[in-house]
Symmetry: D2
Subunit: 374 residues, 4 copies
């Protein structure tokens, strides 16, 4: 059993951490803090967990790094960016391991942080040692990390489908487009007009076009995978569901392809984003390219407990991942345009936030990676 | 007053036609047919219209072209594709003007029809004379047409934002991507597992990837606007709202641009879909390009009663067009990628189907174009 | 044409008044006020009306009774209770006719007002002359009123089904229960945690049990209909729809009844709320009682343009009244319990608020009662 | 470990049984059958469970009692009524213990079954030995039962709040009203027009008024608790959520009460359903009655793991029980009417169906009652 704490447990991610850690077979939730709910029990603040045996005794306290450090070995931070860094600095100094769900330690460059978050980074010295908590990509670094920067929800839905293809050289690093649809919990528990039921129900809308903050971590990680700078297009939309992100990605295969014909045949993709093939040899069959993509994903994720590679006609659907730590991935080659379309579905609060943080926790502590997550 | 009829009035488009034509100041709804509801009144079949003075007397009859032609001068067809053509042929021969909401007469090429709809076109001789009923583009041809092929819902949401820019030479005809989100009514009143409440609520999913039927009419119309063949990428998604389509389009400006600097400066769009500028002269400022785009839209749609060009920070939202014949359009230039993002919102049943059909009807009859639609 | 104004036009009721009055054939919307939006146009504040010809010129101003009185003959107040009274006093003094959508003038007793609204009534002298704006009940008084107290949404859904039966002596005035389900817009445009999308979606909950404020006006009006004091049970619930109230009422017929047997037979309603019949003569057949109820409703509402008495197997459904000024009413006799169940469906913002206010306006001005409402 | 099987695993209840039993610490899911999905794996049929380690190997087979009996000791039946009885008879004969989620064995009287289900009971001999699987009421009988009739969703939401009060003599057995709101999954996975997304979303409606089938088991169980025949009023409504039942109950305390005054003071409940107090001694204070009710519930449910007695201002909310086996119960005395209002919230598929069935299973097998349910 590992003693854990949650600082900032009153938002959606914090609430989900409470759910996951209360039921975790190897975690003992020793402290949870919230300015707003200090003094109240979990049962009072989150009635939906009130039937859990520990909900009536687990009590929120004021956030205090010293006190928390005395009680817990691993601390989850579910705080706004900027605020999280302060606690992380103190807790690390006090010997805790820290899993931060905010954006504070996701970027390696303090300059990029300032560009996207509009203020100086509060603890730039820690950027080097923090590990981006995407287990499928950074499992070995997570194991020994003292500071995990758990990824954002949109980045998770984009990076997992794209990174293996970039690493494998199967797609070009240029021209990538990510079109994402997020449930309303993605905005956090913000009491603002835009997130009222009547404003969201029977409504669909894009927002933060064209420069959402999550671009910064996505481009950093794609650049590492591609070994070259990457600039992507990203458009988030708000849709009337509680949970879930559906991301559709448009990427260009590194080679030209054509359906059902011999390698070397001319492609028909007159409207494609892909520049024309410069020689007949550059063209492969759709079937052979499809096999390479399938192999690439199988090799990257075939044994991953939380990545579901869809087969046959199946396409991702957020209802199939809601409440789970799973990401569904499907893809289609379009011989008409020469493009590859990638699609993913995740629960923004689980695989996109708290579930992924617990997955990192399991790795850090040497527990089975699926502990508390199935 | 013009005598009108609706054939196939029991689906969502038919129901909306009933609503619009019952209240239309210059239309007299003389006949409406439905195999399923023959003999029943509008009040019985559509309780939501039952308070309309005519709902208790207007009665569904069996579909019969001869009988309908005796009662009405203009006939709306809200039938499945394939079936619509049969009625259109008969009604035109009997002297009616026909507004067809199906896909049967939207394509100029019977071969393309067969490719996308998987059967021979039932009346290819009529393809030449039919007019694609997109009033903002084909107003003058609609005026005298005897056969209107009213556009599909997705095509409307794509074509209206793109055509003016293609016509104006402001964007490239290659590499266009349309990512669309549709309410469930877009699937029609189909009693299938996929459209049950529990399967759609708290769910978001792509479908028909990568070759949806609507591609055929979109590409035909874009090619006419660009004066060159056009192949686009199109991904539809189903979202849990009753009505509304939100389309996000990714297009490449015909010129390179850069923010806030002199024309001729190097662009920063390393990850853009747009090939690198071949000479400094090919680069314009973001501001000057933005002005050209604004002018292009203003010139195309400044006087259009149903096109709302959003200003300032506003972005389209389906809740602002639900129940109306309006399309909202906004756009953003992204200096990071060199792309232009277009966004539109429509009601799939009104501007995407029945409202647009009534708009064509108004033009055909010389009525004010907004009659019955405001 | 009558010159009208709206004071407090930024909430849901105000917004709906804007919609209805912009399109009203005999109303000229001369002024609309809102502290929050002063200076902005209707097109800016309510994008969904932006395509209306007048939306770009109609501009919100600061609320000022003197200025408004110079511009308008009839003024709609869509203000919080307490605030509305202040404007009503001033506007009446300045010669305007006032239609108040708040609760301020619905009660005849200042003492009851204080009991339910927790502060002294701000203008008790006006309580006598104000008319409760339920057109189906008070049409003749509305005609000449200078101050209309437009009913609340829950009261409308309860009073219209119950009053004719009470007046006709067909039901007992004791033991009435109203169980109501309201869409979230019923809470007003309040930016509070309870009304966030994620808190309301996939949630159903009662609130304000057992003493909701609307009880006061319901009991006042039922007492007038019954000519005796009436105390009812009322439980409101919040359900995840934007609009609509579904009310189910449990009442006791004034006589005992039994199915399909002779008058005078013993009733089987062992578990009924209705006390046992004291003599065989007090028992009627279900069929004869059903006929009396049907006749009573037909006589009360057979010619009402906005009351839909459902026939056959049909039961009320909020989707059939959403966006309309219609109330649907159905009823069932239950021979097992001896009770009568009444059910109604309305749009809380239209028949439950702004549509009903416009209906009163039409009556006051001698316009067709359905003007602008069909 | 106990070997279990599910017959009819393709509906909503069956799907939830699959979820619960796959993760159950002491159950081994050895067989699951479905005519429709025979041959497919759990991962194929229910993508949302596909990440479970056993989902790719667990395979649906044709329903065959002999084969199932060879594999499993306890069999869950998630079949339509009428069909379930056939399998139950066969399985019991083959030595299995059976937990039936249908209505087939809930009623003790074959005549009442015929009245409500419109056909002869297929196995009346088993009615005597079957146990109504409401663990909080029949725990000791469940322990040794070979045939469990697991309760319906509406009955669970009604019986748990009412039975302790009836048993304790605190309320009258006459005049009880239950007003219930159910999510759409309550209708089962029926592919019918009424349950399409567009027909349910933005809609609320009553149905099956006034004689729903579930009345039969509710009245049977209430009569047993009251030791006298009971007839209740029950109105179900359909609301646009996936899961959840909110039930509001109106009952009459056995004694008169009045707020804050001495016992014996006259009650003010002029409109109450409760007959006037016949003597001053019959009147108690609200406070003392409230204490008795609280004590009664505490005594009945204070140690129940799945009953949550709400305290203070809290009222039930389906979102707090969705996905759990918990029932939330709250109550309010209304001194204005003399009534007691009971409110409950459950997940219709868990506590209202499959979770409750697993709770019975745990009891039958001597496992901790919460095993697999927290």
């Amino acid at each position: 059993m590992k003693k854990v704490a949650i600082i900032g447990a009153s938002g959606f991610s914090g609430e989900e951490l409470v759910r996951l850690l209360l039921s975790h077979p190897y975690a003992e939730l020793c402290a949870l803090t919230s300015r707003q709910y200090s003094g109240q029990t979990v049962a009072q603040v989150f009635p939906r967990f009130a039937h859990h045996p520990r909900a009536k005794t687990a009590r929120f306290s004021e956030p205090n790094a010293e006190l928390v450090a005395k009680q817990a070995e691993v601390v989850f931070l579910a705080l706004p960016h900027g605020v999280a860094a302060e606690y992380a600095v103190a807790l690390l100094r006090l010997g805790c391991r820290v899993i931060d769900l905010s954006a504070d330690f996701r970027l390696k460059s303090a300059a990029v942080y300032k560009e996207f978050y509009s203020h100086d980074h509060p603890a730039p010295a820690l950027l080097k040692s923090s590990v981006y908590g995407l287990p499928e990509i950074y499992r070995s670094q997570i194991k020994d990390a003292s500071l995990i920067a758990s990824p954002g929800c949109y980045p998770t839905s984009i990076l997992l489908p794209v990174i293996p293809l970039l690493r494998g050289g199967l797609i070009r690093p240029t021209g990538i487009i990510a079109d994402s649809l997020s449930g309303v919990s993605g905005a956090g528990r913000k009491v603002e007009l835009d997130y009222l039921f009547v404003e969201c129900n029977e409504s669909v809308r894009p927002y933060a076009v064209p420069k959402h903050r999550h671009l910064s971590e996505v481009e950093q990680e794609l650049a590492l995978a591609a070994n070259t700078p990457v600039t992507i297009q990203f458009t988030p939309h708000l849709i009337p569901v509680n949970r879930g992100i559906l991301t559709t990605l448009y990427v260009a295969p590194a080679v030209h392809f054509a359906r059902g014909i011999e390698p070397g045949a001319p492609t028909v993709a007159s409207g494609a984003a892909v520049p024309p093939a410069t020689s007949p040899e550059a063209v492969v069959t759709l079937e052979s390219l499809a096999q390479k993509i399938a192999d690439c994903y199988e090799s990257a994720y075939g044994n991953e407990p939380f990545v579901r590679l869809l087969q046959g006609q199946a396409l991702p659907d957020t209802k199939n991942v809601a409440g789970t730590n799973v990401i569904e991935i499907a893809w289609r080659l379009d011989p008409r345009t020469g493009r590859l379309i990638l699609m993913s579905a995740t629960d923004n609060i689980v695989k996109g936030a708290s579930g992924q943080a617990v997955q990192s926790f399991n790795i850090m502590c040497g527990f089975p990676e699926t502990a508390g997550l199935l």
